[in-house]
C-alpha cells in the first residue's frame, strides 16, 4: 500500500508497510498511478505510450527502473505481513497510570471533557490512602517493566497538591525494593502555581503539561474562572517562571483549539513569541452539537491552517527560530517499533486511570462510563476479561484501520473517541482520522523540506 500527495511544492510517496518516505518528481508521481507490483522487467508499452505525451520515453523507462529497484529493496509497494505479529497482542503488565488526584477544578473551561473537573460524578479529592493503593497496584501489576509512568491529572491536580507530594514520596520509597523507576508527570491549569510547587514539580516531574490556549482573547474566551473572568494574566507569568527554572527537562504548553479559533497557528506562534519552545495545540474533543465543536464543516479550514502552520514553522526555522509542535513531531528513523505501532496507546492494558474513589478505568477519557469501569482498588477487583479485550484491540482488529495508509502512525486512534463518537472501540472516529492524516502529511512534508535545506547548506 502506498499513499502519495502533493504539499508545499513537494511530491511525497509513503510506503505504508515499510515506513519508506520518498520525494519524487512529477514523472514518478504520474507513473505510480499506472504501475503496480509485481513488476515486469521493462515498463509496459501501453504505459510508456500513455505518458510519452508528457515526458521523454527514455525518462519514463529510467523512472520505471528506479521504482522497481525500490520495490526490490522492499521500501515501495512492500508487503503487509504484520498480521502474524498482531496475533501476539496479548495482555501485558500495567506500566502507566493516570491518577485523578482531584475531581474538582478552579476553572470553568467551556469545552472541558471532564465536565469542569468532576467527570459528572461529583467534586472529590483523592485521599493519600487511595493514592498509596494505586502505587501498590502499579507495583504489583507491572511485572518486569522497570519504567513506570504516573500522571497526576484532574480536574486540577494542584488543588490536592499535598497528596501529590505524599504519593511521590511514597512511590520513591518503594522504587529500590521493587527495582522500578517512576516517571511522574503532571497536567495543570497553573492557577495555584507558586514558587514551592514550581520547585517540587521541576525536581520530581519528568514532564509537565501546562494548559493555555494561545492568544489572551482566545484563552480567556473559554478558559474562565468561576467568576467568568479569563485566566491568562494569572497563568502566563507562572508558566514562564516554571519553564525558565526547569532547565532541559521536558514540558509542554498545551492548548486546545475550537471552532472559535480556526486560525490556531496564531495561537501556536503567540505561545512561541511568549518564549515557549515545546508547544502542543490540539483540536477540541466534544459532542458535535456544542457551539465550539469542530465538525466536517470546519474540516477544510482546519486543513488549510495545518498547512499554514507547517509552512510558518519552516519559514521560522529559516530565520533561526526553533520550537517543537507536538503533533508535527515525527522520527522517521528512531520512532517506535512496529509492535508498538500495531498496539497503539495501550489503554486498558498497559495503561489505566484511577479516580478519587479508587475506581479503575481503561484511561482518563473512559472515566465516568460505567460500562467501562474495570474494577476498584478498595475491593481489589480488576476485570481481566476487559483488559484482554483492550490488549487484543489493534490495527488489524479495526476494519477501517486495517486498510488505512496511516495505520502505523496513529495505531488505530483513540479507543475512547472511537467508543464515544463511533459506538465501538474498534470503529474509527473518522473526523479524528481526517485530522490525524492531515497532520501526518504536514509532518512528513516538513521532513522533506528540512532535508532539502540541509542539502542546500
Amino acid at each position: 500500500m502506498i499513499h502519495k500527495y502533493k504539499l508545499n511544492g513537494y511530491n511525497i510517496v509513503l510506503d505504508t508497510n515499510s515506513g519508506g518516505v520518498h520525494i519524487v518528481d512529477d514523472l514518478t508521481y504520474d507513473l505510480l498511478d499506472n504501475v503496480e507490483a509485481p513488476f515486469e522487467d521493462k515498463c509496459p508499452r501501453n504505459v510508456v505510450e500513455k505518458l510519452s505525451r508528457f515526458y521523454p520515453e527514455e525518462d519514463i523507462n529510467s523512472c520505471y527502473d528506479e521504482i522497481v529497484q525500490l520495490y526490490n529493496d522492499k521500501i515501495l509497494f512492500s508487503e503487509d505481513d504484520y498480521e502474524k505479529f498482531a496475533k501476539y497482542s496479548v495482555a501485558s503488565p500495567v506500566k502507566a497510570m493516570c491518577l485523578h488526584i482531584a475531581h474538582d477544578c478552579n476553572l470553568r473551561c467551556e469545552y472541558c471533557f471532564a465536565s469542569t473537573g468532576d467527570f459528572g460524578k461529583g467534586r472529590k479529592l483523592m485521599s493519600f490512602e487511595t493514592g498509596k493503593k494505586a502505587i501498590d497496584f502499579l507495583l504489583e501489576k507491572s511485572g518486569d517493566r522497570e519504567n513506570l509512568e504516573l500522571d497526576f491529572f484532574g480536574g486540577e491536580p494542584l488543588m490536592n497538591f499535598n497528596v501529590v507530594k505524599q504519593i511521590v514520596e511514597y512511590a520513591r520509597s518503594r522504587e529500590k525494593e521493587f527495582g522500578k523507576r517512576f516517571r511522574f508527570t503532571i497536567t495543570t491549569n497553573g492557577m495555584l502555581l507558586d514558587d514551592d510547587k514550581i520547585e517540587f514539580i521541576n525536581k520530581e516531574m519528568s514532564n509537565v503539561v501546562l494548559s493555555i490556549d494561545g492568544r489572551k482573547d482566545v484563552n480567556d474566551n473559554i478558559r474562565k474562572r468561576v467568576d467568568g473572568s479569563g485566566c491568562y494574566d494569572v497563568i502566563l507569568p507562572k508558566f514562564k517562571k516554571l519553564v525558565e527554572k526547569r532547565g532541559d527537562k521536558e514540558y509542554y504548553v498545551r492548548g486546545t483549539f475550537t471552532k472559535h479559533n480556526l486560525d490556531f497557528s496564531e495561537d501556536v506562534f503567540s505561545l512561541y513569541n511568549e518564549g515557549f519552545d515545546q508547544i502542543s495545540v490540539e483540536p477540541v474533543v466534544c459532542e458535535p452539537e456544542a457551539p465550539y465543536a469542530l465538525t466536517e464543516k470546519e474540516l477544510s479550514s482546519i486543513f488549510s491552517e495545518y498547512e499554514r502552520l507547517s509552512a510558518r514553522i519552516l519559514e521560522n526555522e529559516k530565520h533561526g527560530g526553533k520550537f517543537n509542535f507536538f503533533h508535527f513531531m515525527l522520527d522517521l528513523d528512531q520512532g517506535p517499533c512496529a509492535i508498538k505501532r500495531l498496539r497503539g496507546c495501550g489503554c486498558g492494558n498497559e495503561y489505566v486511570a484511577i479516580t478519587p474513589d479508587g475506581d479503575i478505568y481503561p484511561c482518563h477519557q473512559f472515566v465516568g462510563l460505567e460500562e467501562y469501569k474495570m474494577g476498584n482498588l478498595e475491593d481489589g477487583t480488576f476485570n481481566l476479561d476487559m483488559k484482554a479485550e483492550f490488549a487484543a484491540s489493534h490495527v488489524y482488529t479495526k476494519p477501517e484501520c486495517k486498510k488505512c495508509w496511516a495505520k502505523f502512525y496513529c495505531s488505530g486512534g483513540c479507543n475512547a473517541n472511537n467508543y464515544i463518537y463511533a459506538g465501538d472501540i474498534h470503529n474509527a472516529h473518522k473526523f479524528s482520522c481526517q485530522l490525524e492524516k492531515k497532520r501526518l502529511e504536514c509532518a512528513i512534508m516538513m521532513k522533506a523540506a528540512r532535508l532539502e535545506c540541509e542539502i542546500a547548506e
Partner: protein, 45 residues
C-alpha cells in the same frame, strides 16, 4: 537516483522482529491526552 529521493533510512519491518519490549512511554502520558499519535514517540530500548 534521478527521479526519487528516499528520505528515511529505517525499515519498519526490521523493528517488528525485535520489537515489543514495552520500555517505551504509554502514548497518552505525554502532551496529548485527547488524541492518539504513536509515531511521534521514541523507542527507548
Amino acid at each position: 537516483m534521478k527521479h526519487i529521493k528516499t528520505i528515511n533510512k529505517a525499515n519498519l519491518k526490521e523493528t517488528a522482529k525485535k520489537g515489543g519490549c514495552g520500555k517505551c512511554q504509554a502514548s497518552c502520558q505525554s502532551a496529548c491526552k485527547t488524541s492518539c499519535t504513536v509515531a511521534n514517540q521514541k523507542c527507548e530500548r
